[in-house]
Amino acid sequence: MTFGLRRSVVVTAVVAVAIATVIAVFTWAGTPVTAKTFLNATYIGLTLGALWAMYATGLVVVYTTTGVFNFAQGAIGVFGAFFYWELQMNRGWHPILALFVVVFLFAPLLGICLDVLVMRRLRTAPLVVQLMVTVGMMVFLISLVGTIWNANTPRWVNAFFKDSGGIDLGPAQLTWHRFIVFVTAVVVAVILRFLLYKTRIGTAMRAVVDNRELAALNGARPNMVSSLAWAIGSMLGALGGILIASELEFNPSNLNDIVIIAFAAAAFGALRNLPLAVVGALLLGLLRQHTETWLNFGTNFSKAHLGIAPLLLFAVVVALPQARLEVGRVVSNLRRRERYTNWWEGLIGCGALMLCAVMFSGGWLNFGIWDPEAWGGPALNSANAAMALALIGLSLVPLIGWAGQVNFAPLAFAGFGAFVYLKLAGDTGNGYWIPLVGLICAPLGALVALPAARLRGLYLALMSMAFAQGMALIFFPHEWVIPRIGVGRQFSHIELFGITFDDRRGYFLLMMSVFVIGVYGLVLLRNSRYGRRWMAMHGSQAAAATVGIPVVQTKVVVYAVSASLAGMAGVFWATVAGNLSAGQDFDLLNGFQIVLLIAAAGVSIPMAGIFLVFTPLFTGLSHRLEDTGNVGFLVEILDQLVVLGPGLLAIGMVFNPRGAIFEMGRGFSPILPWRSDARAEIAAENAQKREPEIGELGLERPFTPEEVIAIDRRLGILDEVVPKEGYGAARS
């Protein structure tokens, strides 16, 4: 067992070093190697590593004590950094005072609020819900920062002692800021170590990880322990955010993106080992700085050194030993029955949707606001963009909704599909290539899933995130992948059945048809043996394996199917937009928004894809209102909703994990003439809810509060537990 683990680690390390050597030889920049340049790179690398170590330790502390992997760790850092900017740069507070207020007052408070209001309820939630809620929190915090402080305004934070030189260590110099950063990181690590190992509350924090119930039986307060963990995690995030702010371009998504480095460092310690996580962070810092110093990747790979973290994450995941199938984790008692749409119901629903779409685009269904001549153009444009997102969202239904595996990289797969299509179809826009695009994307999905499918679901989520960022940094910016064109379209209009879909209305009908076919195809897939098998695997992996379903293989297949669907959807995404920009369209946050929206909508039901029109619809509506003038506050509200909505909706999954469309379906189905079962269920529920009437209890009226107190006193019932004196003679 141990030998197997060591061997996989060694093999991975050797392969990684070999690849790194080859890359280094080919990209050597020719910077003269002197003690000074070398030490300089080392110092900066260590400083960066120390900063990432703060993020990573915050993650690990929260994950081990509460079981929630906090994707919002970076966002807390962003919030902290901006708040610090507000106090220090904008209001001119003394740096120390601002630092104190943000790190020791604001951050712990934020952490405790997060825990009490949201995260505490996630402890026993399914992984998908945990991930959606914390990622939702991340997106929400980032967009909140963007709305409070306009993200497009250039800002900077002064480094500490920025004008006073630095400290000479050997031939190279370390600026005071970096020196302080490094010292702070060391002090934080020492304090954390002391807290966790030398204090009772720290012991309790580690005890809660082992056995929460037993910790309570000992008398420790598990809720307080988790709040403390969140407070610490939040403080570390904020501190890291403030200290790193002067090193990077100061904008929310840039500051947030570094969180994946913290994930990689945490994964280096198998998400639970603090010292290893710190080592991982330092290693990453050194690697990053030395690559930047010595290697030159050319313009096409100008951001490649940023891709080191996703690559390390990939390597760690490959090296980890296979996880055992867990038994006894099945979520008990669902409150409500589920009934899946069958083939003819699906046909009716899809037909109705298509009919609406045709009428809408023709202007026959106008809701009183729709005027195809006056503003049909812009609205159809938004609708087309929305439908493209909805198509990408559909690809997540089998994966997240049925198999319970998470993919944060739908846009990376979609972009890859678009790229393949561009290479296959070229300028012709020939739509017959689309199925081939799907076939080519499938192995890519399998490749991403393969190393992580052996592990717990969280690693697959991290892996997909690393993949998304790796693609955005290394693959898509390459000139050859998606050539930059000055004017005009990179992607020609699709041509199918001899028709070139180059007007908005035609395109809208095409998109709707594809969407409807997609939804219907998924309905059929879910009712097939494969759909059942995937849902069975989601229900219990151990049981699925014992009926003969190979779990790892099945996960990889679902991932491949999802990647294939996303790739094909990507063709429509690219052709409707005409151009894709590596810098903007593949931003991690955009991908998150798609995942969050469809998850909050109810990802196990294909029709939930329609909810992805949320953002474009609200944007379109807000533009429309702006055109008419006079409703400034409404425009404002809509704009805020567009920005904050997806995150908020996902956070709402704490309370409604099944998604909005599930509840809507329950409301809607009793109306359908053939659904007598739904009507019966609602009736049975209402019968249960009815409270016993006063008469049935033999009373004429309810007790008044005074009477209740009097009865309690009579019965000797007090609400305080007071141990009598004399139990423990030795207790002084």
């Binding site: 006894g328 699925a544 394996a545 190979p550």
Partner: protein, 254 residues
């Protein structure tokens, strides 16, 4: 040669030895019991046999083939099916679909839809769940959900069926019905089925088992017919605590 043999299985968790050279063999055509006090290692042995836990040492043989290193789904395809002590149903699927998943995976691929459905309905019927076939399993009472698990295991066309406390959550009549079902299944020569049963309801165990293995501290302390096992001093000691301390035996006076 027995159909399923676990030989000298050792399973250690940290400092705790859950199985200590435990050997169990199961023959077709009969129900074999595996009993023992709480924490004796019964479920651990099931997990080792089905591949959910790799044993520290020892071998598991099925039909003479060493399967100690085979994966869980591979063993299932060879004919080892099981139920779980703590419910492991496919919660979001209906009772019928729970069984259908197993039928689809374990019968011929070219089977028509109708035939799969017939077999699945037949399995549900055997455990008496016809009327809840379309109900989501997650909303069923625990007892019924356990029966769904049993039907699912039967649908795997097992040659060895491992049942972990099938009677828990069931009332007396249901338990009796399950006992009858098991006896019927193993008596049918066409099935050629072997059953290994972990159970705490002793009247159930004594009623259906031809042979019983008794596990205590991870060791097999007795093997024999129900009558032999009931009379065994070591077994009584295991269940009632040892006679090495604090007074004499209680209830060995027959």
């Amino acid at each position: 040669m027995a159909l399923l043999e676990a030989e000298q299985v050792v399973m250690r968790f940290g400092g705790v030895v859950a199985l200590d050279n435990a050997s169990v063999d199961v023959d077709p055509g009969e129900v074999t019991g595996l009993i023992g006090p709480n924490g004796a290692g019964k479920t651990t042995l099931f997990n080792v046999v089905t591949g959910l836990l790799p044993p520290t040492s020892g071998t598991v043989k099925f039909d003479g083939v060493d399967i100690t290193r085979a994966g869980v789904s591979r063993r299932s395809q060879m004919g080892i099916a099981r139920t779980f002590q703590k419910l492991e149903a496919f919660n979001t699927l209906s009772a019928f679909d729970n069984v259908r998943v197993a039928v689809e995976k374990n019968h011929r691929a070219k089977w028509k839809h109708q035939r799969v459905n017939d077999v699945a309905h037949g399995m549900l019927g055997k455990v008496g769940l016809d009327d809840v076939a379309d109900v989501t399993v997650g909303t069923l009472p625990t007892g019924s959900a356990r029966l769904v698990e049993l039907a699912r295991a039967l649908a795997c066309r097992p040659r060895v069926l491992l049942l972990d406390e099938p009677s828990s959550g069931l009332n007396e009549e249901e338990t009796t019905a399950i006992g009858q079902l098991l006896l019927g299944l193993v008596a049918d020569k066409d099935n050629d089925l072997a059953v290994l049963l972990v159970e705490h309801d002793m009247s159930f165990v004594m009623g259906v088992c031809a042979r019983i293995h008794v596990l205590d501290f991870g060791k097999i302390i007795a093997v024999g017919t129900p009558i032999e096992v009931q009379a065994d001093t070591a077994v009584r000691a295991a269940y009632l605590g040892s006679d090495e301390f604090r007074g004499a035996y209680v209830g060995v006076d027959e």
